[in-house]
Symmetry: D2
Amino acid sequence: MSFDVLHRDVLSSDTLRADVLHSDVLRSPVQFLQQAGLLADQDWLREYEAWFEGEGQGISEAVDRAGTPWLRMFDQWGARVDEILYPPEYWRMLKHGYRAGVLWRVFEPKSLLPAYLLLYATGFYDPGLACPYTVSLSTVCPLSKYGDAELKARFLPKMLQRDDSVWQGATWMTEIKGGSDLGAAVETVAQRDGSKWRLNGDKYFASNAGAELAVVAARQEGAPQNVRGLSLYLVPRRADDEHLNYRIRRLKDKIATRSVPTGEIELRQSEGWLLGQAEHGIYLILEVLNLSRVANSVGSVALAQRAIADAYSFAEKRTAFGKPIIEHPLLRRQFGDRLQGLRAASGLAWEAVRLLDKVWQEKPPYSENYHLFRLVAHLAKYWTAEFAVQTAKWAMEVYGGVGTLQEYRVERWLREAMILAIWEGTSHRQMLDGLEVMQRKNAHRLLFQHLAGKAPEAQLREMEARVERQLSLPEVEREETLEKLFGDLASFTADALLREPGR
Amino acid sequence: MSFDVLHRDVLSSDTLRADVLHSDVLRSPVQFLQQAGLLADQDWLREYEAWFEGEGQGISEAVDRAGTPWLRMFDQWGARVDEILYPPEYWRMLKHGYRAGVLWRVFEPKSLLPAYLLLYATGFYDPGLACPYTVSLSTVCPLSKYGDAELKARFLPKMLQRDDSVWQGATWMTEIKGGSDLGAAVETVAQRDGSKWRLNGDKYFASNAGAELAVVAARQEGAPQNVRGLSLYLVPRRADDEHLNYRIRRLKDKIATRSVPTGEIELRQSEGWLLGQAEHGIYLILEVLNLSRVANSVGSVALAQRAIADAYSFAEKRTAFGKPIIEHPLLRRQFGDRLQGLRAASGLAWEAVRLLDKVWQEKPPYSENYHLFRLVAHLAKYWTAEFAVQTAKWAMEVYGGVGTLQEYRVERWLREAMILAIWEGTSHRQMLDGLEVMQRKNAHRLLFQHLAGKAPEAQLREMEARVERQLSLPEVEREETLEKLFGDLASFTADALLREPGR
Amino acid sequence: MSFDVLHRDVLSSDTLRADVLHSDVLRSPVQFLQQAGLLADQDWLREYEAWFEGEGQGISEAVDRAGTPWLRMFDQWGARVDEILYPPEYWRMLKHGYRAGVLWRVFEPKSLLPAYLLLYATGFYDPGLACPYTVSLSTVCPLSKYGDAELKARFLPKMLQRDDSVWQGATWMTEIKGGSDLGAAVETVAQRDGSKWRLNGDKYFASNAGAELAVVAARQEGAPQNVRGLSLYLVPRRADDEHLNYRIRRLKDKIATRSVPTGEIELRQSEGWLLGQAEHGIYLILEVLNLSRVANSVGSVALAQRAIADAYSFAEKRTAFGKPIIEHPLLRRQFGDRLQGLRAASGLAWEAVRLLDKVWQEKPPYSENYHLFRLVAHLAKYWTAEFAVQTAKWAMEVYGGVGTLQEYRVERWLREAMILAIWEGTSHRQMLDGLEVMQRKNAHRLLFQHLAGKAPEAQLREMEARVERQLSLPEVEREETLEKLFGDLASFTADALLREPGR
Amino acid sequence: MSFDVLHRDVLSSDTLRADVLHSDVLRSPVQFLQQAGLLADQDWLREYEAWFEGEGQGISEAVDRAGTPWLRMFDQWGARVDEILYPPEYWRMLKHGYRAGVLWRVFEPKSLLPAYLLLYATGFYDPGLACPYTVSLSTVCPLSKYGDAELKARFLPKMLQRDDSVWQGATWMTEIKGGSDLGAAVETVAQRDGSKWRLNGDKYFASNAGAELAVVAARQEGAPQNVRGLSLYLVPRRADDEHLNYRIRRLKDKIATRSVPTGEIELRQSEGWLLGQAEHGIYLILEVLNLSRVANSVGSVALAQRAIADAYSFAEKRTAFGKPIIEHPLLRRQFGDRLQGLRAASGLAWEAVRLLDKVWQEKPPYSENYHLFRLVAHLAKYWTAEFAVQTAKWAMEVYGGVGTLQEYRVERWLREAMILAIWEGTSHRQMLDGLEVMQRKNAHRLLFQHLAGKAPEAQLREMEARVERQLSLPEVEREETLEKLFGDLASFTADALLREPGR
């Protein structure tokens, strides 16, 4: 529960340097990425940002303001259509990212980096919009990796279109009993039907409802009632005969991320195709989660940058006691601390991206790199979301009363950040899954090797000893006291990465 | 920025005792107050709680769901009416607290305690509803204290009615330039008009817009352009001839506290009566703020109790990995920590109430007790609001995905808490004002005397030395590094009060 | 399409008499009923009206303003609950009519009159609220008439409760293919299951979704695919084991009648009990429709009275060219015309009530009285709804610009009236069904007998001849040119009834 | 009150001809205009329609669905900005009509026809959007006609821009006391300030709030308290020093026409320029009204076409009793009647356009043509709006239950039509003003001359005699019985114009 990213000894007064605060870097995701050394000169990303500055931002605000869109279940003559009534400009905004390459750039040559760069820029303007892109990525990746030739021929070209005809993806796992314990909660059943499968069940939190193609967790008839019994299926929106292959029961009224329609999905004899080997389903599901947890980390950092940028813009012009409030020492110090925290969180998130980019094409059994990645991803998901929430809260406080009004944008960041902290697994889940990968795979040792030379040797040793002690505790105590350790490990890792030369 | 109420050495495992967690205390504000020793057997408060359980809670939820009410500025024939179109049951709910005695009980015999007990119970069910009661209290108190016989005869009986004819109060200070630096921001001018005054100006954040009687900060013509130039006026909704004496320009779309209509007020030749001596205005304004900051502290604790209670109810019945999630060690530990934090926050808030109850009838020049109170009030406002925000955030995370849906109540607590953390002064304001009362009035020394015997002597000495060192720093550094000290001082004070025998 | 109720020779200048316009009769449904000779001194109805004036009216406005309520499909732990989130005061308002006796008074002694009196008063304040009462009446009547002893013992006492524990009813016929041609559109199937039946199907316009007991049209397996294949079932909200026996798929966003939740209902192995003989189903369905069409007529008149009353209140106080607009000759004349039309519409609607009260306990085969009733009911449903729509439109025009604002109540009446004109069968349906009962049952001859002595003999003859001519036309032409005749017949009937002594 | 456009002897069965019903003419405003002989081959209008079919229609629906936009009165730093928060695509849609030439085409060469053609096409897709164009036209016309060289140089080029930098106009007359009796209701005062004027007052129904340039009715100090005391001013949104020259107090929640922001405007020392001679103000105001009443007529016809087209699309595919409902004789006949009515209404509206195009550049004293035009304009405004309302109501009934749902578009047309029937003067106003122009200017005689040869001589004579009789009645009776005559005169005129060769 403690959250202390910022009062750390690494904080130096140079975080208050004029060149940071007074430059435009803070207000530009692309310039921020560039300053962080993540990006050479990439015009397409600059154009993407420019589009948001000019047009996309206003659309994003209007979509958030409008709240949950209507779902038109039936047309006026009674045919089931499940049409989501976003304003037309929503679709313009949505298609923009696909055209810019959030999917197709990943495959030429194969690298996730362009996708995550684009997700960062998206997250700065609309954290919810990053979700359709992420789940589309999480659909196209297993398709390209595990799909057989026929499946790929059928679906891959549609998802890699560079124009508005592109198909979207979606990843539907969670059912009404919850998303943490999938082994017990998934009740959707898959029955063989020739080369296809028929799925029956209800998905309770289905992001990007309405997508043309979804990856769906289900249990084959007779498969065990645990996590090993799960397998993963491709389910298109329309069956071969063009009828709706799944139904949207309703859209959910979320507090934020309104740029992604989240719904409840009814699968009723829905046709699907098995991805990979049935008994490997849980691995494929985790690979899907890997992609989205890292996307969540990157998006959390983008959101934090945005909240700081907005707070800064406000504080520059708002005056009290005869000067802009940015010049008040207490607030100025907080800005410095936030910037320092932003760098650390950014370092951690992008380390997760780099590690993922090395391992995302692995299949089980996985290498050590994969286990190292998983631990870093858990640390990053946990830490960056927490940072985003705390930063958004702080930005609202900088605005004071104005921050509590729906009329101005700033309260939105807290709503968005709260969802980032919850979906793809809350902090509990990250901690416990992080614990598991340390216990089972000794991922902490891989981490300390990875950090060698980046943190003072003594500190590395001390941290390692703390982790080993934790792992040797009796189970209940081990979990009960996990939070402090996990937070410190995340902070330690982030600091070490920040110290790395060239960052 | 660090917030670390919970990982403290005072935490002992008894916070996990079954009698706390399994009892109904957590779900009842009255039982919680009773367990905290704050209340003997008071039937009226029990009835008030029972009404909320039976009827009020549903009304409160409907009012929140409905969003900002409409303002009917004109009737259909064109007469200005400024009617706020709440659903009828809002008024039923609102009047309930007045009938139960949030105002009239304060004067028989004179004690603020009944008011704050009722505000606690209110805050548990509807944090925003506590606002009309608080500002009414903040109107009736200066009226009874500073009003002359004529003013009191005119207005006091109306505010102390025990039925639905009761008049509400309101406290309008903030103008468009902001609420922190009132000395510069108040541009409303008061001109003498016989025994009355005529006020002209705009109030930007006016809580309880529509109240029958408001206390309003204004500057007399020719008064200095600083905080000394302010004075305080009583302004009724209707002038002697029954026409509207002020206008509501609009209601503001706040993210929460929808049970209090917050508006922008236009004063145009509005008649008012001066309260107290004109040159003492700032003191009267601060006295008004004292009442509401303490109310905010009490309300923050109530909200935190509510959020924990809701999270507990959820976690008892939600299962994962074969058992209710409340039985998972990591979450169970967090519950224990939250409860411990709740006790500490509660102790701090009610200490502020007790101290206020001793000094609220003082007039300037004030006693040392008053200065001690002010410091504790700043610590309490800061600390309890922060605790409320962090607890509400945590409760959402306990709910997981369900916590992000508008459909279920839990996301509301975070919205409400964010307003508690901002209005009546953000944490910056509390810290800087707390610093001022320490510098000018040595309030910290009064605090350490007050805590003598409640904390170990050595710790008291150490804390005192830290404070003195802070006060001796150069101004910029003193403010820049204030946050850590102020947080620690709040935490230290709360812990000391918790250790006090009989709590 | 022509609508010419008002420029008729029966219009005399006495409709402008001061005693009508200046009295309070126009603003009181009870006084209007009394003046129309429909009601002796009935205190309970007066109390009902008084409650609406004091409390109910404000609730009704708030419910309309709030729009479609939320449907909570699942509780926070994932159990299906299908809870409709109206504000609490909605339930207070709703239960009021049941307590006042809209159901229980019908059975002591047996007479529908009290129910329709109460529906009139309800319709004056909230046309939509009359719907739950009507469909409850349409449930309790067939239950008491066709239910066997066991069914009656099981359900009847619950519907005749005089307190808030009363069960509500509902009548669900319409499916996605439409409500006019039930013979073809009903696809819900009933399968025998011991003494019960299991229903499967979807109802598309289901008024009073959430009711504890519904009458539902379904087709038994193997029954013919036409109107003769329909039968009627009682379906409770909860099955014997308390689980939800039907599901609400969603609530529909109607433009008005927001005081009745209209939804889509999923019947999935829902248990039901057959009412009467299976092969008589269509007769039972028509009997249900009889009750609601007459209720619609009475409600349309009430709405028209209300719209005129509101327009009058406005016009009395709004001035232009130096005097209240009510004193402008053109508008004054329109008021007179409207009042005259109101009387005629009222006479027609209450004649339908009187006739229904004579025949509602008949079972097939029916008497001539029943056929006479059916023709009058079609004329009344058609004519009164049309009058309500035109009157509501006119009232908006009287208000001028103010009439186009959501803020003032008057635009609501047009929205409400449009629904009255559509549900329970549009004007097309009334005309064609009226034509059928004339063709098959010679109901027009019964009507002219009934009107003998109430209209001049020559006019009676002439009208009768016109009807006979119409009936002798070839089918296409008969229907094509029906509208003018049907309108004239309604107008003629209404005028005749108005001339009747004692009205 | 009677409305009987359709059951007329001129109705012939050829209105049911397949070529009308089955062609696409009904669904295309441009093709409809073409078939009516109003338009040669004009590509720009075809492109405009195509844009609406492709993009604009969806935007229009989203804007209607979103309801009244927010008004951001202040930016986050407290500066008054009065920004209307439409979604960005609103502005795209809005600017489209200006680029297409609704203003600039009028001046090359001078003819109003292109403007009204474009207004027709606009009205088919979005009746509210026609309003900004109309009031802009009503601003640019008096500016170009009455502005001196300096004014024209200053403002005219801005309004004739062909790109998105175009300035919009607005016409603000109505104050809180109402719009009919401007002579009494206008309380806005203009005081001379050098070559400018300073205006103070409140406008209550101000269409296109936020426009860059408005024409505003005001009374010069000392001018008489009647209609002769009014004069007309140009008032820009921003004063010379760029500060806001008027304030939007709030936007009004209208039931429709959400594509035009209607607000309340506060004029406070707002700078303005007198147009024409002060004492001619009322003439200029009436000229402004001429433009908008004719626009209203054209828009009403467009709306009626749209409603019929939608009803037709529905009825073609909706089946009952074994066939599409369009094939049911009663409904089929109604379609025929509606089409016939549409032609008549269209003929009347476009006659008003043609007459206006002849006289719009006249200044007082006016020719006989002008008086003829005024009578036709009153007849057209009255008749077409009534036709639009009745047609929209009828279309809802064709849809049946589906017609009462917000989800489908058809209920919108009734909301829109109700506003068309009210603004620019209700039917009362049209009748009484029509009466006046007949009494004072013998405009009826000009009309009958105009219709000579278009209606049978005997009918002409008879109608003329009826009018003369009406005019000779005593005043009260003359007005009291006006409605029937006025309706018949409109119908007669429309029929006569329809008979004219070449139409």
